[in-house]
């Protein structure tokens, strides 16, 4: 897709990137216990006996988490494995009560799939590329250590312990930071559409481990490093850029890349070694004997498929068929919330083009100014539809609509109420308009002459003057008609 190359002293270098994305599965309770998954609770308030790994406690799989993983797999056209199994990944750490993480190494629930990405979603002509997905498996999250609570001790918060994650592993098909960014954005968009993960990277519900290696174009794969737990798209792109350059510099100065785990420091914009392969854990994976294999039957798979929403690519095609431009269709479908907002407007009877234009210019502009997201919009689709309805039926003009919208944002009042109260209703009173036109023509005789001698552009001037004289409340179509007649 993009020819991303690093210029080294010995020539060009190609970058090979694979991503392992950890996405927290949207569910009420944890993967193997009934505890709540709620974010931001008091430390250790969402911890069951199972989460704390008390003696004799056993995991019981939460079907909803498996369902969400299967639906996600279906959304990326992946192979769904009817038979999968949980394995234990053994290591000691204070945030891991069992002394092992229940994960899926040997038989993941979702096999190969793919995601099509485009470097510039909003440009319909931007080239696309398919990024292979190797697998999606389901696993437990660990707890959290708190080092700032006591001068010599660390505290442990187990609220996250046992929360369900999907690990979505890409093939090393990504070849630039931009592609990596596009992939992560598209993946997040799909997860949000499916409703299997909120994609909230700030709260840690989505994070990426970034595998990077470099090679001479078309050459043998180089040794890779893995940069762990990158929690924003921007950081990930910076980490790749830094890490690829570091590897090139290292190799060209006679060194060798060592396989290791690294951390990205967003303050210094660099990656740092965390542990090398020699220190790597031997996780001693083996099938979890507390759990039976996961077997999915036809009815379960059918329900998963039937419950899938329309996905972004299909939506975009449908919007274009509604008469939207490719650009608008792409923007509206990039995020599930935008598409749902747009569709809410359509459901309220708003015309597709009117809805898309208003949403993309007026609403986005207003939210931008307010520094709010679509979710936080002070105006909901129903209220917006009321406003757009007033424009559509000629009650108010487009320019009055802008004013009304601003008042709606300020006061929270409904569009009709504002129009009523402020007397903003558009007038169709041709007599009144004709009277104003006559006055304007009298005051601008020179311009009338110029217009009549062929300077068509001046027509806009007369429209503007008339509208101004009518305080914006005249029907623009009627102004047009009357002006044409008067100016001859």
């Amino acid at each position: 897709m993009s020819e991303y190359r690093i210029q080294g002293n010995t020539g060009e270098w190609e970058v090979v990137i694979g991503l392992e994305v950890h996405a927290q599965i949207t569910s009420e309770s944890k993967l193997f216990s009934g505890s709540s998954t709620g974010f931001g609770a008091e430390p250790n308030s969402h911890v069951s006996l199972v989460d704390a790994a008390m003696p004799g406690m056993l995991p019981v799989p939460n079907r909803e988490c498996l369902r969400q993983a299967v639906r996600t797999g279906m959304a990326i056209n992946a192979q769904i494995n009817r038979w999968s199994r949980f394995d234990r990944k053994n290591y000691f750490y204070a945030d891991l009560p069992q002394g092992y993480q229940i994960s899926q190494l040997y038989h993941p629930i979702v096999g190969e799939g793919e995601i099509e990405v485009t470097l510039n979603e909003k440009d319909p002509d931007s080239p696309t590329k398919k990024i292979g997905i190797e697998r999606i498996h389901v696993e437990q999250d660990a707890g959290k250590l708190m080092h700032d609570q006591h001068p010599t001790m660390s505290f442990v918060d187990l609220n996250r312990s046992g929360v369900a994650l999907m690990e979505i592993v890409s093939r090393p098909d990504i070849s630039s930071p931009q592609e990596a960014g596009a992939y992560l954005k598209k993946l997040r968009s799909i997860l949000r559409y499916v409703g299997s993960c909120d994609g909230n990277m700030e709260q840690g519900s989505m994070r990426a481990d970034v595998n990077v290696s470099v090679r001479k174009p078309g050459g043998e794969l180089g040794t890779r490093t893995e940069t762990k737990n990158v929690n924003s798209i921007r950081f990930m792109m910076q980490a790749i850029e830094y890490e690829a350059q570091r590897q090139v510099d290292l190799i060209e100065s006679g060194g060798a890349v060592v396989q290791e785990t690294r951390l990205f420091d967003p303050n210094k914009m660099e990656t740092r070694s965390m542990r090398s392969k020699e220190d790597a854990h031997d996780y001693r994976y083996f099938p979890d004997p507390d759990l039976l294999p996961v077997e999915l039957d036809d009815a379960f798979l059918e329900e998963c498929r039937a419950s899938l929403p329309e996905l972004p690519d299909a939506k975009r095609a449908r919007y274009e068929a509604l008469g939207l431009t490719a650009y608008n269709a792409a923007v509206l479908t990039a995020e599930a919330e935008t598409a749902f907002w747009f569709e809410d407007l359509l459901a309220e009877g708003v015309d597709a083009k009117q809805a898309s234009n208003w949403l993309m210019s007026e609403l986005f502009g207003a939210l931008n100014k307010l520094g709010k997201t679509l979710d936080e919009s002070p105006v909901n689709p129903k209220q917006a539809a009321e406003l757009l309805g007033l424009v559509a039926d000629g009650t108010i003009s487009g320019s009055i609509a802008k004013q009304v919208f601003e008042m709606m944002l300020e006061t929270g009042q409904g569009a009709s109420a504002i129009v009523e109260e402020k007397g903003l209703k558009q007038t169709n009173d041709t007599g009144a308009i004709e009277a104003e036109i006559a006055k304007i023509m009298a005051a601008n005789e020179d311009k009338v002459t110029e217009y009549r001698s062929g300077k068509d552009k001046l027509f806009g001037f007369f429209v503007g003057q008339t509208m101004k004289a009518m305080q914006g409340k005249a029907n623009p179509q009627i102004i047009n008609d009357l002006l044409k007649k008067a100016l001859g």
Binding site: G56, M57, V60, R88, F92, Y100, R284, D290
Partner: protein, 494 residues
Amino acid sequence: MTDFSRLGVAAIRDGVANGEFKAVEVAEALNTRVAGAKALNAFIVETPEMAVAAAQAVDADRAAGKPLGKMAGVPIGMKDLFCTEGVQTTAASHMLEGFVPTYESTVSANLWKAGAGMLGKLNLDQFAMGSSNETSYFGNVISPWRRNDGGNAALAPGGSSGGSSSAIAARLCPAATGTDTGGSIRQPAAFVGISGIKPTYGRCSRWGVVAFASSLDQAGPMARDVRDCAIMLEAMAGFDPKDSTSLDLPVPAWEAALNSDLKGKRIGIPREYRLDGIDEDIAKMWDNGIAWLKDAGAEIVDISLPHTKYALPAYYIIAPAEASSNLARYDGVRFGLRDLPEGAGLQDMYAATRAAGFGEEVRRRIMIGTYVLSAGFYDAYYTQAQKVRALIARDFENAWASCDLILAPTAPSAAFGLGEKNADPLSMYLNDVFAVPASLAGLPAMSVPGGLDKQGLPLGLQIIGKALDEQAVLNAGLAIEQRSGFTAEAGEWW
């Protein structure tokens, strides 16, 4: 006056139900027996007040005309591997010394619901790892049995459920819970001349039982006769949604269906169990067992379980592998022992805590398990062992084509003296040689007394049945019990 220590589960239950005596009388009598038998070291914790409270509740229910449970008025011992709410639960390890669960295991809760009461928590091999009870942090249990050589050598009660076996044989309680991972119910039952059944894997919930090897661990009852085992197993078993490996099946009425007429039943005698150099007394007992079953109407057939010799090595890979992971949670962070040397970091705390908390045998098995799961060794050990396990299960499947039950010795010898096998872990592991195949295959298996050896010590006969066919196993056990005339008891020397 009734000697309550001589009554079994059925007799106590029926006597209480019929109003012959009060449950409280039984509880008090057995509390006294327990208190007087400290020399056996069978109990880690005694809970006389709980035995009395449960008995009082049963007496009150009876007085009020309420229906009584399957175990109403029966005081029992609880192996200290079952978590009991408000009562210290240690798995006989220093690691859990002082640990008081806030929850009750499903199996023990089922028993309390059925009207049983708890005399105390029974000693065992540490984390159920051992065949002699010598690995307990709280000192070894001593068998009430003595050899007939006039010596006073202290004998092993078997393991890991050695507190259970010793207490029942010494008539401190009519019955007790056991758990069986590779013979831990059957071998101790055989060593002290009582009965015990490991049901089909999944019959009894593992929830709240301190885990040793999850794919093998199975709880079961130990008692002085087959009927008592049937009654207690009915009370213990049942589907538990909190255990994913629990079987979602109704609990059969085993006691009501007991029938020692074995007409039409074919009993398989596995030739591979007739090891070279088999103990003469064991061979003789086995022959007696065959004759008794024939007498009960069964047909005897020779069968082959060709992979038997690989069972023990496979078991000693799979069980330690699972244990090495199951025991990782004992890390000093959240409960149990914490050894935090001055200035120590997290890794130091792990090392110090686990070195101090686990006994030698537990450490050995954690090391074995860690080794066999390590990168580079996994396929050679764990994967191979799993294949062997599948072959063992297939051996049994093939055998069921020609027989309904299998008869074999429970253990290769009678009880040995404490300390006799400590030096060589392998000779200790060999004790499980006949018990382990049924564990690997998840099949129901029972030990019933088969006679005494030349030293006057009990020997056990093992009956292995098809999955879910506990009834046939119990019936054959009953047929043997009715013919063996086993009435020997340990002298009361303590």
